[in-house]
Structures are given as structure tokens and as C-alpha cells.
Symmetry: C2
Subunit: 112 residues, 2 copies
DNA sequence: TTTATTACATAAGATTATTATGTATATAGA
DNA sequence: TCTATATACATAATAATCTTATGTAATAAA
């Protein structure tokens, strides 16, 4: 996940948001989508992603559909009803977070 | 630090930026300043702040001046030369981070 | 005199991520 | 054909960071 520590804590928000936008996705697809959207600046590692997906599933935020495509396993994840509600909250928190961070660094950011 | 996980990883960036803006500050002052700027939305806990300050000092990012004010100890921290350079990098990383998070959350806006 | 505020500190435990490793199939290129 | 790369999942050891709880101690307010 790059050099920056800042992405720590943002993984589940990213995953839930992407699932909210795209309906359903499988793990590998999520890593590629994130890489594409951030132009390679953010690379989700498998060691972080898969345990996170399992945890979200265990919490009832995601549900999974296993499919076999080209003789290869795929686990499609999508938001549950609970997950959709949580995602709305997460997005509100992200907005607050960004606003607060900008307020904290405002004067310096303008000079870059 | 509120309910949101998003602030994880942002503590040192916040501390370094505030010190860059204010010259020198002591720990308790930092907690109050952050609370003030974020209107109470972000509360830096002491258990997170003090170890972080000690680590930054050990890394040569911060230097400390101990003073006695009203018979009470104060440890003023300020950026070293190295710390100032690092802070510029941190702010650039923060900008990238915010830009990437916004792109991930609003992919449709990018195509307009 | 009790509570809240100021001001530092650390330790146990939880959470999260990195790094390394493993399995397995498919495909492209030398 | 062999090798490397891509696809697609997974886990375990370790590292880093934060929360929660606790501790010391002085000042100020109720």
C-alpha cells in the first residue's frame, strides 16, 4: 500500500464503496480497480484484502457468491442491506475526515 | 479518536503539520488545538500522542525543550531541519491520499 | 473537599497492515 | 517446451499503530 501510512484504516471504506458502486466484485477485481482508479498509486495487498473481506462477511456487511469461471475460482462479494447502510455512514465519515484533515493542514497545503 | 478508523496513520502528519505552522507546541496544547480546529470531532488520545512524540524525537524529526510553567512540566516540541523536510513530504502524501480517496469514492466525476 | 483541568507517562490488548509463502490454472513468449 | 506473467484464492509471522486503562502530580473551581 505505497509508502504512505495514511491509507491505514481506509481499506474497508474503499472496498465497501466500490461494491456499492459496482454491485458485485471479486477480490482480485477490487485490487485491479483500485490500481486503475489511483493510476497505480495505491496497491491493495492480498494479505490485507482477503482477511478484510472475510471479516466483513462475518460481520454481515458482505455476502458472497462463489462461481467457477474458466475453471478458476471466483468469490463475488456484494453489500448486504446492513452493508449498504454502513457504507452510507462510512462515506459520511470519509467526508468529515477529509474536511478535518484539510482544516488541520490548510495553510501549508496552499503553499505546495 | 472518534469512531472512525480513518484517522489511523494520520497522527504524525497532523502533529508535524501543526508544529510547522505554530513553531513549537507541547503535547497537551496539540490535543487542544486539534479539538478546536476540528470542532471536537477529532480527539487525540494521550496514549497515542505521547509515544508518537517520543518516536518522532528518537527519529530526529522533532527536538524538545523542557520548561517549567507555573510549577508544572511542559515539553515543547519543534521540527528539526530534517523534520521540516519530512513534513513537506507528508503534506504531499496527504494531498495524494485525499485525491485518491475522492477518486475512489466519486469515479464518475473523473469521467466528466 | 471533591471534581475538573492541566501535563506528563506507560502498559496490556486489539486492530490492521506488510511481507512472505503457498496452491492452482491459464496464457504468452522465447 | 519451458518459463514467466497473470489470474485467483489463502494464511501465518511480524510490525506498526491505536485504544483503553491506569498512574503521578499540580492548579483551579465549585
Amino acid at each position: 500500500m505505497k509508502n504512505s501510512q495514511l491509507y491505514k484504516g481506509s481499506l474497508t471504506t474503499i472496498v465497501m464503496t466500490l461494491l456499492g458502486e459496482n454491485g458485485r466484485m471479486y477480490g482480485y477485481e477490487i485490487t485491479q480497480k483500485v490500481k486503475e482508479i489511483t493510476k497505480g498509486e495505491l496497491k491493495i495487498t492480498e494479505g490485507a484484502l482477503y482477511p478484510a473481506l472475510h471479516k466483513l462477511e462475518a460481520e454481515g456487511v458482505l455476502e458472497v457468491e462463489i462461481e467457477n469461471v474458466d475453471n478458476r475460482l471466483r468469490k463475488y462479494y456484494k453489500l448486504t442491506e446492513k452493508g449498504t447502510t454502513e457504507t452510507v455512514n462510512r462515506l459520511a465519515e470519509l467526508e468529515d475526515f477529509i474536511r478535518n484533515m484539510q482544516a488541520l493542514v490548510q495553510p501549508k497545503l496552499d503553499t505546495i
